[in-house]
Symmetry: C2
Subunit: 349 residues, 2 copies
DNA sequence: AGAAACTATTTGATCGATCAAATAAAGTCA
DNA sequence: TGACTTTATTTGATCGATCAAATAGTTTCT
């Protein structure tokens, strides 16, 4: 294969200068129509493609976003990040952006990687996932004026409306509020909740959705509300145990909501009465066994992240005060309702 | 933040020339020890990082590998590719390689993307996953002399030992052979198999592993061997149905092996006798519910892929006949044995 | 018609690194 | 010692694109 043609080759073929060729690609508006057509024909004929590195060197833009690939913390729910990554890559591509992966062993190590990629001009900005309270990464990125957007709101003491920290997140509260309402509308009164210990902020958020909806309706007493809640760490076996616990303590249930699909899967195993169970994340497992679940619309999240990010490195420097756009975005999740069809429980007996 | 220092800045600080600085980074051997130390000190002191794009422009190497992010064809087993991607990124990083993602809607579209990334000098080579019979992608890559390695052997008419097609794959036959042997060693005689229709080559391979091991041992008659096999497309509900079918047709079973974890999960649902079930892929679901499974050692696969790929664009041009290294690598999977502890079946009754 | 104001296109310089070849320094040997 | 290697370092050119400023070509208006 002969080496790739360059702008000069195209310019020669079209009878114009290098810069005009460049203009046709980057600001077609300023080139006269007939000239543009001639250049475009030459580009097509020679099969010209701009050399990405040359362009990046000159423009000081890499058109690349860095994102850390997590080591599947929680097995089952890992697929959410996976889907997010896919959506991000797909949508980034449409805007001419590439997605570069990296891994890290700890938040501190991640900062080293962030610095490496940024200093080497490998990326224009980062997308961070799984934010947590006191996250050192966001602090570091802000201090170093590096563009980034997080999938996950600032937790704990960090300010949700800090103009320097752009974020997109899914409204876990709304997800569970809606799921609770849906169950109530279907006639359920005694709706249980299996959630995580309150050290995890994201779990508290979801729990409140259920709790608020239950209180608003007032179908059960305060004492019952306490009995209807089980707390456990994530996991299938844990979900099973929590479900047994719940049935023992709360008596008959009309429905059960869970903070994750893992818990929901577990709950469903100890569920002979076939009480409707709803999970969270709408993972493949939920789809496979016919479990209702709250779906984090990763497509919308990806779009939001990209919007904020390109606004960031497209426009002014980081944290420019004059930008009046919203600095964050809360996405409303979507409840996916499924019947229990996939598990013919009667066969088990 | 002041703009990043360049080689020239470092050279000035260390009192040497640009090229010496470059040599310290790329061929330290040819620089005198004391000079090297001086330069290294200057690099550290200034916090210098080479500009990736500048280097790539000059060297005509991107040190980047392109890989397509699949849209989770099969929900549950998608995590295998996910784990592979993670291992690949991690190991690539150690060799100074980056991993760039892309998406595509079809094999034809994928070829367009491959061309785009290659022509733009964005990547040095590709890693392809999920190969299939008559795969147009490998054909195209070979024709265009672009470096690539596939995770998955050439299927169908494609030649497994074609020196132009480098590949790494997991030996599904060995995986099921071993799983069968393990069951036999544990005293099982009547071992059932739930597999896929024979249109999928990868499924046939796994089935043969079970079939060969059963025949070698000769514990059951040929007629029984036929009764011990159920065929169905992938899915949890399908696994449940196949399991019922198997129990009806084959009578009592000592163990059941499945072509996937989805099928295994399904099989376990219709398994009141608690016959040991073994899946394939060792997905998080298997881990969560305590299912034995055949693990595709993605770490080894990633290492193999990288070895072949760097050998490819590190050394001679594609398909150079003088290379005597093996052109492919078959990885032996590993059987992960788990007890059924996670599912307390008695609770269901 | 001629100056002013645009619009379209070209030219020279530059981004930050490495290559290739030239030079300088050090070591070897008759 | 002087010619000859070998080793270490420097210099000028270059990768392929875009930027900034200069030039050529058009249109507008008095």
């Amino acid at each position: 294969m002969a080496s790739m043609p360059t702008v000069t080759d195209v310019a020669l073929a079209a009878g114009v200068s290098r810069q005009t060729v460049s203009n046709v690609m980057n600001s077609p508006g300023i080139v006269r129509a007939d000239t543009r057509e001639r250049v475009e024909a030459a580009i097509a004929q020679l099969g010209y493609r701009p050399h990405a590195s040359a362009r990046r060197l000159r423009t000081r833009r890499s058109s690349t976003i860095g994102i850390r690939l997590d080591p599947m913390i929680d097995g089952i729910s890992g697929s959410v990040l996976d889907r997010f990554l896919h959506a991000l890559t797909e949508q980034a591509d449409k805007q001419g952006l590439r997605v570069l992966l990296f891994t890290a062993t700890s938040p501190e190590d991640e900062i080293i990687q962030l610095q490496r990629l940024n200093d080497g001009a490998d990326v224009d900005g980062f997308v961070l996932t799984s934010t947590f309270a006191g996250d050192p990464r966001t602090k570091w990125l802000i201090e170093n004026k590096i563009a980034f957007v997080t999938f996950g709101r600032p937790w704990g003491a960090d300010d949700v409306s800090d103009p320097q920290h752009l974020w997109v997140d899914v409204d876990g509260w709304a997800g569970l509020y809606e799921a609770t309402r849906a169950a109530q509308d279907a006639g359920a009164r005694r709706i249980g909740y299996i959630g995580w210990p309150s050290s995890a902020d994201t779990g508290d958020d979801r729990r409140r959705g259920w709790h608020d909806a239950m209180r608003e309706r007032g179908d059960v007493t305060e004492a019952d509300l306490i009995a209807l809640e089980a707390v456990t760490v994530d996991g299938v076996a844990e979900g099973t145990a929590a479900m047994q616990d719940l049935r023992r303590r709360a008596g008959p249930l009309d429905a059960v909501l869970c903070a994750s699909d893992s818990l929901a899967l577990g709950a469903m195993i100890a569920n002979p009465e076939r009480v409707p169970v709803t999970g969270y994340d709408n993972t493949p497992v939920a789809a496979a066994i016919g479990l209702s679940s709250v779906d984090q619309s990763v497509g919308e999240v990806a779009a939001g992240v990209l919007g904020l990010l390109t606004g960031e490195f497209g426009g002014q420097v980081h944290g420019a005060p004059e930008s009046l756009q919203p600095r964050y975005q809360m996405i409303r999740p979507r409840l996916v309702t499924r019947a229990f069809a996939a598990i013919p429980m009667e066969m088990l007996v």
